[in-house]
Subunit: 185 residues, 2 copies
DNA sequence: CCAATCTCTTGATCGGCGCTCAAGAAGCAG
DNA sequence: CTGCTTCTTGAGCGCCGATCAAGAGATTGG
């Protein structure tokens, strides 16, 4: 079994491609970003990308995985020190820049298994994190799962639609009331 | 000002194109549906479609407008006789067949004004309908708007994600609790 | 009646897309 | 040196949405 020329060079170039892809995906969205454009910014030809990634969706999934990993670990740390409200607002804020990609994730998940897997993992991570918080707050156990789902859908909805700041604040307020264990009384 | 050759022929052919487009869009989704394929099923050439519609997004918006119009008037009638729960379940059920298009609507809304307009009108129609129902049920007025938005996001979320039947039922149950005026006590 | 005008349809074509293929360069192993 | 693997590339495929110029057909004003 022959060795790699340079293992470093391999993963390095792969990372460069991912970096270029991430920049252009975030700036212009999935559809308007062509493999050729990504390859030019990465300093390679389009075909090289197809050697590292089996297709555009797989490259997209790899980019998502990185973004999500950073986000989830940040949220995981925050959840220990900040309140639910603060974290909710932080999520909405820090996801704003990836707004077009959030819609794309759902679109491509229907087509690409790679994207669907990343998408599912993301939901599971965030929702299990929220589940722990709710559990510790004394939330009625049986209602935790569906209520988490509702929260998750509301957050996605807020990110996917144009909503005025005032309306957003009202929605978050209502959502927090739903997530409050006081409701049981 | 010269007359049309046949006004009837004009709107008829336009309708034929919309019908073909609707069928294929619903069967295969937006992306996989090409103008050429629609044109073949409608018995014209691709260019003819571009005479009736300024682009693929505008054709898509026209198709959506028809689907939505049928849906909204049906829901409007139902809201007078059926309960909120029944209508909610009916919405989820009757939208199932258009699931891939729901995701597409959001994706194209970011790109096409025509699709965005149709999308906004749809939200306004459904949400004002729900607003009337909540108002009549004695729901606290100040909370109606944000809660409607939440309901709307949850319905969209349920349609956009793979959710088991059991989980869906739980979520609907919690959503109905949120929409119940009894919560105020 | 005829030329002008408007409505509608079409074939040809464009640039770009995601992706594939075959060829070959560059390194390592026996 | 030979063979094998890793990586890179130019050429090209089929398809896409969209445009353009040409023209057919009906209707109109003169």
């Amino acid at each position: 079994m022959p060795k790699n020329r340079q293992d470093l060079d391999n993963s390095l170039k792969k990372q460069m491609i991912k970096d270029s892809a991430r920049n252009i995906f975030l700036a212009d969205g999935y559809e308007k970003t062509s493999i050729t454009r990504i390859s030019k910014q990465a300093g390679v030809t389009a075909n090289t990308i197809y050697w590292y990634f089996s297709g555009k969706d797989e490259l997209f999934a790899a980019v998502l995985e990185e973004l999500i990993s950073v986000f989830v670990s940040a949220l995981s740390q925050r959840s220990e020190t900040y309140s639910l409200e603060e974290n909710l607002l932080w999520m909405l804020e820090s996801f704003q820049f990836a707004k077009p990609l959030i819609i794309t994730v759902h679109e491509r998940s229907a087509i690409s298994d790679a994207v669907a897997t990343v998408h599912n993992n993301f939901h599971n991570s965030v929702e299990s994190l929220l589940g722990k918080v709710l559990n510790e707050s004394g939330f009625e156990a049986a209602r935790i799962k569906p209520v988490i789902r509702i929260a998750s859908f509301v957050v996605e909805g807020l990110l996917m639609h144009e909503v005025s700041i005032k309306e957003k604040q009202e929605i978050v307020k209502q959502l927090l009331a739903i997530l409050s264990p006081l409701r049981d009384k």
